[in-house]
Amino acid sequence: MQREQISALREGALASAGLLVGIVPWGIVAGVAMVSAGLSETQAVAMSVLVFAGTAQLAVLPLLVAKAPLWVMVATALVVNLRYVIYSAVLAPHFEHLPRLWRVLLSYVTVDGVFALFAGRYRPDDGNRNKHWYFLGGSLVMWCAWQLSSGVGIFAGAMIPGEWSLEFASTLALIAVLIPLLFDRAVAWGALAAGGVALIAAKLPLNLGLLAAIAVGVAVGLAVARLGPRAGRV
């Protein structure tokens, strides 16, 4: 490694250190919630390492407890992860010159916070040859923090009695992720519509109500955005 690569790696790591305050409690809760939802310790560790997507992990846990079918849980994970498709499109031109193994690695470690830091720092036409080191440095800090804090939660969760209903913490953690998204008007109206449909359609078989709610939410969001900047203002 050359000096500039090391300094980009360090710079990314230092920038993402500011995100640790958010990710550490989040990881602990995910660890506790996985064990409380019925995963063995081995399964919980495997999920943290292989999936490495906190929102998707926390989103499927209430469904697992409610005995939703497998395909509904996987479909939900897909929908919650759709934001990564946007990140992937934004990041692709930055990383297109890299060898395939690098692109696999950078795809696997992508998380919201580091994406936001990176996209704020580098324009797509920025010719800086070491920017992937910045991304890697930030991502490694987040990856280690996530795995360690999840591990703490997993082994603490195994010792906490079930009647504390700590699996509810995963729903509370989802609320913490959802709130910042709602500051966009169209997103907020879409989410409200989805919540309403989810309640009305809760009796539908196979949790089809959840998928119907998401479809209606997206349609309402698109409609509100199309109606113009002042529509739906309260």
Binding site: P25, A37, G38, S40, Q43, L50, V51, A53, T55, A56, V60, P62, L64, L70, M73, V74, A77, L78, V79, N81, L82, R83, Y84, Y87, S88, A89, L91, A92, R103, V104, S107, Y108, G162, L166, F168, L172, A173, L174, I175, A176, L178, I179, P180, L181, D184, A186, V187, G190, A191, A193, A194, G195, V197, L199, A202, A213, I214, G217, G221, L222
Partner: protein, 110 residues
């Protein structure tokens, strides 16, 4: 409460595939494709809609029936968490406050 082992392993495998593929979809082929604005919006609205559609039934339904009552501990805990998340933006305060409200209603409510 323990879910069947094969189901959990299948879930982990499916989620791992999805988590990787959604992140790699443009990065891995080295694509220069720009997402059309409508597609980008739909991709932004879906996660928030999904989260709300998971949260609302989880706090407002008790054994499948709507329970809008101060005696529903999950509803009170969830609403406290919404208020704390909006005012503090702190993950820790949101979770701790919500769990505390849940516990208090369970102990003293009803």
């Amino acid at each position: 409460m323990a879910a069947e082992s094969w189901l959990v392993w299948a879930l982990i495998a499916g989620m791992a595939a999805i988590a990787f593929l959604t992140r790699a979809v443009f990065i891995l082929p080295g694509s220069h494709l720009r997402l059309p604005p409508t597609a980008e919006r739909a991709l932004r609205y879906a996660p928030a809609a999904a989260l709300m559609a998971i949260i609302v039934p989880d706090i407002a339904l008790v054994q499948g029936a709507l329970s809008i009552s101060i005696e529903n501990p999950r509803l009170v805990g969830g609403l406290v968490a919404f208020a704390l998340a909006a005012s503090t933006r702190s993950v820790f305060a949101t979770i701790a406050g919500g769990m505390l409200a849940l516990t208090l209603v369970r102990q003293f409510g009803g």
